[in-house]
Symmetry: C2
Subunit: 197 residues, 2 copies
């Protein structure tokens, strides 16, 4: 079974190979473009067979958007940590703060990914699908904060969360287009204020 640490040695090498594939692929994508880069080319650059790439990533798209996999759970955890009587919009905004920090922390990687997502239509769909899954993780908490009859509660919560994530996306896009110069938190506040206008 597992050693004294939480994860076994096998899981460790797996993660190493996984990040190696992701980093090599990102370099190629930025250099040549996403659609112009073949999975076999990525595999050759890493030194493995093309088949093995799909043993670490379910799809080619996931090599890019897989980086954003844990964010939904992070946001949900941050949201659950907010006081129970905090109103929905405030709780959502505050729950995003740690995520904003982690985005600005390695801004180079974030901006590169955002740029790649911006001018690759095929990836945009995948990103939006990922965002929809984040929403699913946040809806139950927001639903609990709403004081509405049960018939309306779910629709209201889904719309609220969707609007909040749209604001987050637009703020990050704007921030990336400014090369990280504009303050991300203020952009998010501007977006939210406009929606609540």
């Amino acid at each position: 079974m597992a050693a004294s640490s939480g994860v076994g040695l096998r899981e460790l090498t797996r993660r190493a190979v996984r990040t190696q594939i992701a980093e090599t692929a990102m370099e190629l994508f930025v250099a040549k473009g996403y659609e112009e880069t073949t999975v076999d080319e990525i595999a050759a650059a890493v030194g493995i067979s093309g088949r093995s790439v799909f043993r670490y990533f379910p799809t080619k798209e996931d090599i890019v958007v897989g980086l954003l996999d844990g964010i939904g759970d992070e946001l949900a955890a941050a949201l659950a940590a907010r006081p129970r009587d905090e109103p929905p919009w405030v709780a959502l905004r505050n729950a995003m703060t740690p995520h904003l920090d982690s985005l600005t922390r390695d801004s180079d990687r974030t901006i590169a990914t955002a740029m790649l997502l911006a001018d690759t239509p095929a990836l945009r769909g995948a990103l939006l699908a990922k965002r929809a899954r984040w929403a699913e993780a946040l809806v139950p908490d927001i639903s609990r904060r709403l004081k509405l009859p049960p018939a309306r509660r779910d629709l209201a919560a889904r719309s609220l969360v969707g609007a909040a994530l749209t604001c987050l996306n637009n703020a990050v896009d704007d921030w990336a287009r400014s090369n990280g110069r504009k303050p991300l938190a203020k952009l998010l506040d501007t977006a939210i204020a406009a929606v609540r206008g």
Copy 2:
């Protein structure tokens, strides 16, 4: 050149074949599922070659979401027709009314499409990408209605439009899940009210 009517005879037959492909494909998708239906099967059912399907639709996804192609322009036109001093949220809500009517008019087709989109992940990404293109058509108008410094105007408009379209999507989903029983307009109002909380 063209005859007395606006469109030539060639364009007419083209549209006929196009709708024929779309209708046949939708029947097969509903019966067998989207991913389980091959493009060649659709072609065979119509009586053309598989290659020709791609001469009418750029991708297999577009056979489904192509039906929603004109909606973005319709919404933009309806929005442009609203009084110039109408506030953004009110103008967006009112601009959606004709679209709501056309959705409820042939509710059977709308519900079937919504159901198909709901349980086909591959199509969801395409739908969200389409919705993003609708947003592009609405942003300039909303941007004009906002009284904000230019630095914030674009981000605010994009977020506002994105939030409104999220409300529309969620309302239609809820409406379709209720088999068209709940009043669609009220659902949309509920969603918008929740976002403006």
